[in-house]
């Protein structure tokens, strides 16, 4: 089957029930998308599918079809996405493991709502778990990015 990931077509031959997460990480080596819980409760594995934030651990690859997938590696070529720049500028990350999922969730939010309110951010981001407790900084970074 052909998957379009980060604007590139990949011809892959895998069990169609394999969740997208493992296709990305094990088959294609795109390890920026993280495995956190595998059951849809932490959102570390968030990618964009046709621009929507989706949990790659829950989606069997056979459901993707021709939809376009964007992973953290494809958010920008060089870390220049406003969210990536904001994260670096105000120093969000501690261990950093959940942050690709946080950034992808925020990217989908900014696409829908370029100027989100604090309530918008809280409500959109409140399924993403950060075990280090960087939530306040994540929110600040999203606000900063939305001003660009």
């Amino acid at each position: 089957m052909i998957l379009n990931i980060n604007n590139q077509d990949y011809d892959i031959n895998v069990d169609p029930d394999m969740p997208l997460l493992w296709v990305l990480r094990d088959i294609l080596g795109l390890t920026g998308t993280k495995y956190g819980c595998g059951i849809g409760f932490c959102k570390s594995c968030t990618v964009l599918i046709d621009g929507n934030a989706e949990q790659s651990c829950l989606i069997p690859v056979r459901f993707i079809g021709t939809k376009k997938i964007t992973t953290i590696e494809g958010l920008s070529d060089d870390g220049s996405h406003p969210l990536q720049k904001a994260w670096v500028e105000i120093g969000v990350s501690q261990c950093g493991y959940c942050q690709p999922g946080q950034i992808m969730t925020a990217a989908a939010l900014l696409k829908k709502k370029p100027k989100p309110t604090i309530e918008d951010i809280n409500s959109e981001m409140s399924d993403n778990i950060c075990r280090c407790g960087t939530y306040n900084k994540i929110r600040d970074a999203i606000i900063l990015a939305s001003k660009e």
Partner: protein, 782 residues
């Protein structure tokens, strides 16, 4: 930033994983006569560098490579260690590259725990930077034929004073290699007033990689021919394997083999999904060797309370009580994982770990090979919190690689991780403390009962007649270090009890503490946090404010937490104030990040999380029933740093202990309800509503059984109502909706059954409304 990271990756990240830098003159040490010449393969180029110690290398292309011998868990050690070396070296920060030390005794103690990294390495790393700088200045002075005193260093260059000659550190490598390494006692370190890097915020060195998905954690290790492995472990505490059948597992496409280890049954496959599918297909019979539940533990511990001694005769009033704290899992974001490649009698490991030295010895012992034949390479950890002191996952990876013959990435699922953790110990604290007639503490007695892994801490205030006792009864539940270790329980108890004593004495909880210490650093953090939080000022109705303090890890901290509790019992943490005195803050921005993160950790565990056991089995399995706070639940923070000395302290853990009691003291201030049992979810915070409805006497409400196991029957009868349609909502203590439904009253009554099998234990509130009047009742899930 990108260029910088590409360079560091080219040299250090695992493109060249299994081929390492050649060190020409053997291993380095700071008292050796000459610096090391290190040659690193870099495609067609050879980069040469000089290393006066194991901590710092300077390459001919003018990079500074700093070796970090403690593990990055999110506490910022890669950044802060680099800052220390770069400061004394006068390095250009943009030319600094960071590499992790492999597990090796030449680096000293590599155990990342107890918030010791900065305190242990502060002096050695400063000396290492200054030694290298001194040699580079010597090299320039020899090349130029001028005295060293006519040379100075700045941003990776040596300059001639009053001249225009300059040489980069890279250009000085050849000459520096011929010079003796100056002994540590000949080194002059900078004055604090001369610092250019230290004391100013540098954000996480790895941030540019993290935000692009390029940062590599243990579970991200990939190599040609890699296979993936998972393990099925016995679900019962102290249980064992009886028999297993792997026929179906081996039929799963992609499964390469099934191997029995002492830890369980391992499945190796071409990818993670196949490994998990193969594991699902295993048929295993386990033997249960114990059948106890959390209530049995509690009962046996309560039985060991005995009789506490008497308080002194001058006691006029006293408090007696039992505080309880549960087991906790670490649940790092990244479940435990490790890469192992065993071949030709040697084993190579790539993993996040808090102790690569014990991992090395553990692997060597498990495989029956010598330490010299094991190399443990340290990668980023997706959180540690103490969990990665136990290298069980690394040892399993090594065993599976040996058994299967494959290079394997072994990983736990989140459920494996929660069920096979080294838990934060549970404990029961029986306390008795009194005050004299003039409101001063008269005595303090605390007895801690646990599996034998918790003992009391003395209060940090001037309290006479302290008696500490312990008792234990083990149930074979694995426990281990968990962020802030015993302080997580003890400071909750001590600082809550201080609050109880203050109220007993009729004194303000802040002033009560302030007047009971002569330690000026403690007084100062208390005083400033009281000022910042406007302690004593009026709060809105339903709000409360609590204070607590902690001294440890070389630092002082005080917290004030503000909460509100609604009439429905809904708790909101409104604001948290912290004042920390770290001695000297190396990296102030990161200090604040750590203090904030630790507080959120403490709020989460105080409110919601616990590990419970039923019939010998851990009941929690994921983030659904071991819940962490998310963005909408966290308060705003106001964090201040007081620098008081020239000695920095550890910041990874100090921010946790006093948060829990400050929160519970705030709840008491708001509601009059004293939290003595964690998590708080066990306590109903409804105070006003019950009173109101009983006066009103309009409602009959019954939920059966309470506490309920997975479902309960609800009976509601209203004497008068506005509409026959009732909306029923079940919320948790933070007001999150668990269930929402609308029902018709049949006459004045409603009967129904509610199923909540997958929610965590604790208090929930049944809210119902006929559109005008609304009512709230607590229910409890076992």
């Amino acid at each position: 930033m990108n260029e910088k990271n590409n360079i560091s990756r080219r040299r250090f990240i695992f493109g060249s994983a299994l081929t390492f830098a050649g060190i020409v003159s053997g291993f380095t040490s700071s008292d050796k006569a000459l610096a090391e010449l290190i040659i690193t393969g870099d495609g067609d180029n050879k980069i040469m560098s000089f290393a006066p110690s194991v901590w710092v290398e300077i390459t001919k292309d003018n990079q500074v490579i700093i070796t970090i011998a403690r593990s990055e868990l999110g506490q910022g050690v890669r950044t802060s260690f680099s800052m220390i070396v770069a400061e004394e070296l006068d390095a250009d920060w943009d030319l600094v590259r960071v590499r992790n030390a492999e597990g090796d005794s030449k680096y000293g103690n590599q155990s990342t725990g107890g918030s010791t990294s900065i305190r242990t390495f502060w002096q050695p790393l400063r000396i290492a930077g200054a030694q290298a700088k001194k040699m580079l200045i010597s090299a320039a002075s020899l090349i130029w034929g001028i005295p060293e005193s006519n040379c100075y260093s700045e941003k990776s260059f040596v300059y001639e004073k009053n001249g225009n000659r300059k040489l980069s550190y890279g250009e000085l490598v050849d000459k520096a290699l011929t010079l003796p390494v100056p002994p540590a006692n000949s080194i002059t370190l900078k004055k604090f007033t001369e610092f250019k890097i230290l004391g100013k915020t540098k954000w996480n060195y790895d941030e540019p990689d993290i935000v692009q998905g390029k940062a590599k954690y243990g579970s991200d290790f990939r190599i040609e021919g890699i296979k993936y492995a998972v393990i099925l472990r016995c679900p019962y505490i102290s249980g064992s394997l009886q028999s297993f059948d792997d026929k179906d597992a081996l039929k799963v496409k992609g499964v390469l083999g099934v191997y029995q280890l002492s830890e369980g049954i391992a499945v190796v496959a071409e990818n993670s999904f196949a490994a998990l599918e193969g594991r699902n297909a295993l048929k295993v019979t386990w033997k249960k060797n114990s059948d106890f539940s959390s209530e049995d533990i509690r009962k046996e511990w309560i039985d060991r309370i005995g009789t506490l001694p008497n308080l002194p005769a001058n006691t006029s009033k006293f408090i007696e009580g039992i505080y309880e704290v549960p087991f906790l899992a670490h649940t790092t974001m990244e479940p435990m994982s490790a890469f192992a490649k065993f071949s030709d009698g040697k084993c190579e490991i790539w993993a996040g770990t808090q102790n690569p030295q014990t991992a090395r010895t553990g692997v060597a012992n498990a495989l029956g090979i010598s330490n010299a034949n094991v190399r443990v390479n340290v990668m980023l950890s997706g959180g540690g919190f103490g969990r990665r002191h136990d290298n069980d996952y690394i040892i399993m990876a090594a065993k599976i690689s040996k058994a299967s013959g494959y290079p394997v990435l072994f990983f736990y699922t989140k459920e494996d991780d929660i069920k096979n953790d080294d838990y934060r110990p549970a404990s029961i604290h029986v306390v008795k403390a009194g005050i004299t007639i003039d409101g001063k503490p008269s005595g303090w007695i605390q007895k801690v009962i646990s599996q034998g892994d918790v003992s009391p801490n003395n209060p940090i205030y001037d309290i006479p007649n302290i008696t500490n006792q312990t008792a234990s009864r083990s149930f074979g539940i694995r426990t281990g270090p968990w962020r802030s270790v015993d302080y997580t329980q003890n400071i909750f108890v001590n600082e809550s009890l201080m609050d109880e004593l203050a109220h007993l004495a009729g004194k303000d909880p802040y002033l009560f503490r302030f007047e009971l210490t002569k330690d000026t650093r403690l007084k100062n953090v208390l005083k400033l946090v009281a000022e910042k939080s406007n302690w004593g000022s009026n709060l809105p109705k339903g709000w409360g404010r609590g204070i607590a303090a902690f001294v440890g890890y070389g630092a002082y901290i005080a917290h004030v937490v503000e909460v509100s509790v609604s009439e429905e019992g809904k708790l909101k943490i409104q604001k948290a104030y912290a004042v920390v005195d770290p001695g000297f803050a190396i990296n102030p921005g990161n200090v604040k990040n750590q203090i904030m993160g630790a507080a959120i950790d403490a709020f989460s565990t105080a409110l919601n999380t616990e590990i419970t056991i039923k019939n010998g089995e851990i009941q929690q399995s994921g983030f659904n029933n071991f819940r962490w706070l998310t963005m909408e639940d966290v308060p705003d923070f106001d964090i201040d740093i007081i620098n008081t000395s020239e000695t920095p302290s550890g910041m990874g853990e100090v921010g946790f202990p006093s948060v829990t009691p400050a929160l519970c003291n705030a709840i008491f201030n708001a509601t009059g309800i004293r939290i003595r049992k964690l998590p708080i979810a066990y306590t109903s915070l409804i105070s006003n509503v019950e009173k109101k409805t009983s006066i009103d006497n309009n409602v009959e409400f019954e939920a059966i059984p309470i506490p309920f196991e997975s479902s309960f029957k609800l009976f509601i009868k209203l004497k008068r109502w506005n509409q026959s349609k009732l909306s029923i909502t079940i919320i948790d203590l933070l007001g999150k909706k668990i269930l929402e439904t609308a029902i018709e009253l049949s006459g004045s009554r409603y009967y129904g059954e509610f199923n909540l099998p997958s929610v965590a234990s604790g208090t929930y509130y049944v809210l119902f409304s006929d559109g005008i009047d609304s009512y709230s009742y607590p229910i409890m899930k076992k």
